[in-house]
């Protein structure tokens, strides 16, 4: 019987294919903490997780499976096991859930400026909310924490750490602004940057030719 409710039966093809997709990727053991963007405590020593999670993030970015995924009820315990990872790709918003008042949603929508951050060579993207930082320093500190767990080659070599990179050696922080131009971070006053930034890319120095000399004090 077809129900026009927000609940899909477990047999629905979308549900099934996404469930199996999800268990293939099994991001670590259930219950193992993932590496949330702003939780350095979790990020420490979880380098493996970073990589696997990265794949998931890329998948999310490609927007797979956007159909009306809802709450599979009566699922076998396996698919429940994945915890927060079980609603992959463009999670459909179930009306009424989570129970956040529209007034609050609207207000917070205005107060958050989420932009994607890509680092050349990293297999995954992150999102940051620019509104919670008050300066470029703040933002860089947060980016550092976020991407410490990765390098393209060797985790352990000091030189590869992003701090060094952000000082102009390895990576150049750039962003795409409202006019679709790629600019250097730090060129414009902070507030103006927050307003016009669409996304951030930490570009390999070798590729940043023609963007002008990066200066950051």
């Amino acid at each position: 019987m077809s129900q026009d409710t927000t609940v899909d039966s477990p047999e629905s093809s979308d549900g099934a294919s996404l469930m199996s997709f999800d268990t293939e990727l099994t991001l670590g053991l259930p219950g193992e903490s993932r590496s949330p963007a702003r939780a350095p405590a979790f990020a420490q020593g979880h380098k493996k997780n970073c990589t696997k999670r990265g794949f998931m993030e890329t998948v999310i970015d490609l927007n797979l499976g956007t159909s009306h995924i809802s709450m599979p009820r009566g699922q076998n315990s396996e698919s429940r096991v994945s915890g927060t990872g079980k609603y992959p790709a463009a999670k459909a918003q179930v009306t009424g859930w989570p129970p956040v008042r529209s007034f609050r949603k609207k207000t917070l929508e205005g107060s958050s400026k989420l932009v994607k951050v890509a680092v050349d060579g990293a297999p995954y993207l992150r999102k940051v909310d620019l509104q919670i930082y008050s300066s470029y320093q703040d933002l860089f500190r947060a980016l550092e924490e976020m991407f410490t767990c990765f390098t393209t080659r060797d985790y352990n070599m000091e030189e590869r750490k992003l701090t060094g990179a952000l000082n102009g050696r390895e990576y150049v922080p750039t962003y795409e602004d409202k006019d679709d131009d790629w600019m250097l971070l730090g060129d414009v006053p902070w507030k103006m940057f927050v307003e016009s930034c669409k996304r951030i890319r930490l570009m390999k120095s070798s590729e940043a030719v023609g963007l002008g000399k990066y200066k950051f004090s």
């Binding site: 219950g31 702003r38 915890g83 927060t84 990872g85 609603y87 129970p99 956040v100 008042r101 958050s112």
Partner: protein, 581 residues
Amino acid sequence: MSYSSLPEDVLEHVFSFVQSDKDRNVISLVCKSWYEIERWCRRRIFVGNCYAVSPRMAIRRFPEVRSVELKGKPHFADFNLVPEGWGGYVYPWIRAMAGGYPWLEELKLKRMVVTDESLELIAKSLKNFKVLVLSSCEGFSTHGLAAIAADCKNLKELDLWESDVEDPSGNWLSKFPDTCTSLVSLNIACLGSEVSFSALERLVVRCPNLRTLRLNRAVPLEKLAHLLRQAPQLVELGTGTYSADLRPDIFSNLAGAFSGCKELKSLSGFWDVVPAYLPAVYSVCSGLTTLNLSYATIQSPDLIKLVSQCPKLQCLWVLDYIEDSGLEALAATCKDLRELRVFPSEPFGDEPNVSLTEQGLVLVSEGCPKLESVLYFCRRMSNDALVTIAKNRPSMIRFRLCIIDPQTPDYLTLEPLDVGFGAIVQHCKDLRRLSLSGLLTDRVFEYIGTYAKKLEMLSVAFAGESDLGLHHVLSGCDSLRKLEIMDCPFGDKALLANAAKLETMRSLWMSSCSVSFEACKLLGQKMPRLNVEVIDESGPPDSRPELPVKKLYIYRTVTGRRIDMPGFVWNVGEDSALRLS
């Protein structure tokens, strides 16, 4: 001497000391003469569901009321589950009260549709009108507010708590006449557009009794200091936007202004907050009892710095940016804490964006002996944590937990959270309100039915396995008044078996469950004092009787079916056949 021989005015005087509705209702049942005396001296009425009684009936029974409180839409309307146009119109009440209660002083409305016409009628007809509270209301604009401002000569309180107000241009604040000096409380925090600052300032200056001022986001931070210096007697303040260019002169001006406000107990607002400006409020922190930071997008270290200076804090609303570490600091500092609400910064995100887990709540439950009211959004929970919380705080009265991903199990054991919530209802014997989340079987409802004897309101989503779950609740929860359920496999059996229970409750909401149209009809026919309303925007529910009804709202009423139902609401009562043909 018998009590019935006491003169009426003596009895009336005695009754005047009894304020609670429940007690008043009991008094009115003692005997006919007490009923009569009581009804003439009742001064305030609370109608929890505006459709439970007609305004005419209310006015007829209680002719001398001065204060009316009404609620309209069901609670789940807050989460977009109730379609636009469903109802909850206050106009019929205002029209009736314009004639029936000409001396009405207070009107408090929640989740109702209020039109400018209604506001204009209030302003025109109620000469002694003093208090208007519009909480989560909609349908009006600043034109209506202008009428209130202009004509309510004795206005003391205007509170637009989280209402949806249309803001056509127009300077409604300046409609308060210069002779208006009576304002005690003004809350315009929800207004989107700018108000005239000079009008606001003049108003504040001429109202010496102003205790509560909640500004809207459009009021710039640079101007806040100025206002504060004009109203140092404020007890409750909501800032406007809390962001400005970093300038030492603005900061010192602001800090100076705050230090002059020796009576401040409550702070809110803090939109767009720039952390550098937070220390400006430090001078008032030691006296703060209420802090609403639920729109403040700042990180944990800044939140900790602030909260650590508020040892008298009783109520904190905050975003999950506070993280477990912030809650640990809260538990260490705020020993007087009674209420905590932690809201999600990214409710629709796929991954946790902050380090806030069940640990934070456990820590607060350990450190705050007076904690009694909790609203907590998080992404993981364990039975152990819930059991710990329950044992720590048996005096809990309101416990609303929202684990953001539906059906999330105990993250340690992968079991359902039945045992955890079971501990909550077992230990917290005075629990009045409970919201469930996470993976839950029928067992949790068995616990609730067995132990939650004082429970008045229960909210459920994506839980349970069968009708037995619903049956446990309806048959066991003696004090249940409101039950709201979404996406649960509850169907006809439990509902029909407990039909009589529904008349003892204010209302029942069920959406995306498994109740058939047939059962709704049966229920409607069997229970004439219930309105059984089916909401279906895609067409008449009886045209697809094999499908469960999408949304169902059942409430007790003494006035029968309402006459303002829109096309997508069907009342399936006795004459439902006639209605639908």
